[in-house]
């Protein structure tokens, strides 16, 4: 095989895996939109907050230590212990559940039956609040996330594929990041679990009923408050998974909240209400932007990925305004 062909395959595979990483973020948006009709602007910040909390708990950091030190003149930062990774993850999930309860009690509860734009604005406020709250709680320094995930290219794959190129061609073997491979597996498990939960469980059906019509769901005895707590808790869990995967790449820092920007074209393409759509949309965006950067990028100065993802999503929207898997809205006069 020619090296160029193999490099193209490499770009496609890496694009697919990058797409899975985008999908992990998009999933959180879909869950909340599907269940409550809210476009949750705070999803990216939730990923940051969850990852900050995980590292903080894992490393025994004292929450609000900067504030405590500033007020009381103390100099405390750590409890002096390390929490095992699994326990830290469980505790972080607990924090995200508490967060979901607070969001429901102090924000959503007061906005039942309001226009979607009002709910959207509320999540913008929530995002800014959480950015500051996360900083005060855990500090703004960059934190290393170590939950035992592998990193680096797969040596086995590189060596195995080294001889695939035609003789005399410069080829260094196929490169795939082990972290991306793990992320793909995790995403598959998540999507399958969430789809089963949404389609085949009583709670899942209740979630969809609430999404269709708040008042109708209430009239048949579904507790809106419970459903919202459940869905925000699940979105918090998905945010934690996304935070772990992205945080393992770059360290846990404010920029994690910006990964939401990568999820938007995925949502436009895959639809806001489909869990499989988030995955397929992510894969298309990932492969599309990577291939475009590989083939066209060098001709036009590079750095095309950020804008090309949106161009790709818009191209799909021309033909399917509701996204690939979104529900078609039919309004009859």
């Amino acid at each position: 095989m020619s090296a160029d062909f193999l490099y193209t395959i490499e770009v496609i595979l890496n694009g697919l895996m990058a797409g899975v990483m985008y999908s992990l973020v998009a999933l959180g948006f879909v869950l909340i939109f599907k269940a409550s009709g809210i476009f949750n602007y705070a999803q990216g910040v939730m990923a940051l907050f969850a990852a900050l909390t995980l590292v903080g708990i894992q490393t025994g950091q004292i929450p609000f230590s900067h504030l405590i030190n500033a007020i009381f003149g103390t100099n405390i930062h750590h409890f002096g212990w390390q929490v095992p990774t699994l326990l830290a993850i469980a505790l972080t999930i607990g924090v995200m559940v508490v967060f979901a309860i607070l969001v429901e009690r102090y924000i959503l509860h007061h906005l039942v039956n309001q226009e979607p734009i009002i709910l959207f604005m509320a999540t913008i406020g929530l995002a800014y609040f959480m950015e500051g709250f996360g900083d005060i709680m855990w500090g703004s320094d960059i934190k290393t996330l170590d939950v035992g995930l592998p990193s680096g290219g797969s040596l086995w794959l590189e060596e195995y594929t080294l001889g695939w190129a035609a003789e005399g061609e410069q080829y260094y073997g196929m490169y795939l990041d082990k972290l991306d491979m793990v992320a793909s597996l995790v995403a598959i498990v998540l999507v399958v679990s969430l789809t089963i939960f949404s389609q085949y469980t009583t709670t899942g059906r209740a979630l969809r009923a609430v999404a269709d019509d708040h008042q109708a769901a209430l009239s048949v005895g579904i507790s809106l408050r419970t459903i919202w707590v459940i869905v925000w808790s699940i979105a918090g869990f998905v945010a934690l998974v996304a935070g772990i995967m992205w945080g393992a790449k770059s360290g846990v820092q404010f920029s994690l909240s910006l990964i939401a920007l990568k999820a938007l074209p995925v949502l436009m393409l895959g639809g806001f209400t489909s869990i499989p759509g988030a995955i397929i949309g992510g894969l298309i965006i990932g492969v599309g932007e990577k291939l475009f950067e590989y083939a066209i990028g060098p001709l036009i100065g590079g750095a095309t990925e950020n804008w090309f993802a949106y161009v790709l999503a818009l191209m799909f929207l021309v033909f399917r305004p509701q996204g690939l898997f979104g529900e078609k809205i039919i309004e009859r006069v």
Binding site: D141, K249, G251, S255, Y294
Partner: protein, 427 residues
Amino acid sequence: MKFTKLATVALTTLAVSAPVVADLVFPSLSYRTGPYAAGGAPYADGYADYFTLLNERDGGIGGVLTAVPECETGYNTAKGVECYEATKGDGALAYQPLSTGITYQLIPKTMADDIPLMTQGYGRTSGANGKVFSHVFNFPANYWSGASRIINRIMEENGGTINDRNIALVYHNSGYGKEPIPTLEALATKHGFNLTLIPVDHPGQEQKSQWLQIRRERPDNIILYGWGVMNQVALKEAANIRYPMDQMFGIWWSGTENDALEGMGSHGYKAATFHNVGSDYPVYKDIQKFVVDAGLTAGDGSNVGTVLYNRGMYSAMLAAAGAANAQEIHGVKDITSGMMRDGLEALNVTNEFMAAAGMPKFGPEFSVSCSNHGGPGNVGIQQWDGNSREWKLVGDFEAPDMEVISALIKADSEAYAAENNITPRDC
């Protein structure tokens, strides 16, 4: 009860809106929030702590206390300009915005308001031409001197020749990241190396395409001009593809403890620097005694001695030196921003001066003149030691290729003068 409440509100309002009472005001356009907070916070800490040290140890500068009112920019250019407008009326003597974007916006404003704009290691490189940019001071080094010093270092490591060598510039796709391109292109023509430009869009969280390209093309050297998360991801991806880290060079904004987050993964990575590393200097004993132990640190004290804290402190020291110079030149203690400008233009930083400031050999020797606001641009090289997890200075502060840089500075500043109807000063 009502009266008490009203009095409290009135007093609070007065306290918040009252002008700064200290005489020597150095506003800090800091960013402790947002995507670049991890870089902005330690710099702001170092900047503020040095002035606190002067107040506590020396009673200020020339007996006049200093004040460093902070204004949060979030590394946002619009907010930076707002901060400038909000604080300049408090008697601001000089601004150091720690942002190339904000710097570009403030250049015409500071010239109109007669306030010096100090941009140590960032900003508009051609600001070094004092004839055109009367209020910009970008000593002791700039983006172009950094790029040239890196190329010189690569030449040193390769027997003095880099003809046909492949060098890639991985840069933040912004005004800052694009700054070294003209210099590197001129140097590529001069020395015969092949330059590949690889931009990374803000914020740089995802760089897979760029590093797959690097893995395919295998450049002999990589030069990194990044900031924020772009640096951590770039170094992580470089380690992932097993790029030889000692062949990779960053500019000083890509050479901090934050950037080498991977520890051993970044072992051997080098970066240009215009100041020394670590905290083994007499000034740190004073900072510990008068600032940290006294509970007066701007942050929590954990950043003391880190690269960015050092840079903030060094920048504050240079501003303070300019103020002291101005007091001496004009024979008054309560200087104005115009006098401060004169003080900076007459700055002469010698090894003796640095030793007296408690920072022996911390930075290069340099002097400023009416025509040269950038100094000789001497730059050192530091290297990350993954074992001890610290930076070490491995290359002395040496001059860049001024033959190339001077011509570029002249051309760019003259173009700016022509565009803005500025008559260059005769000096």
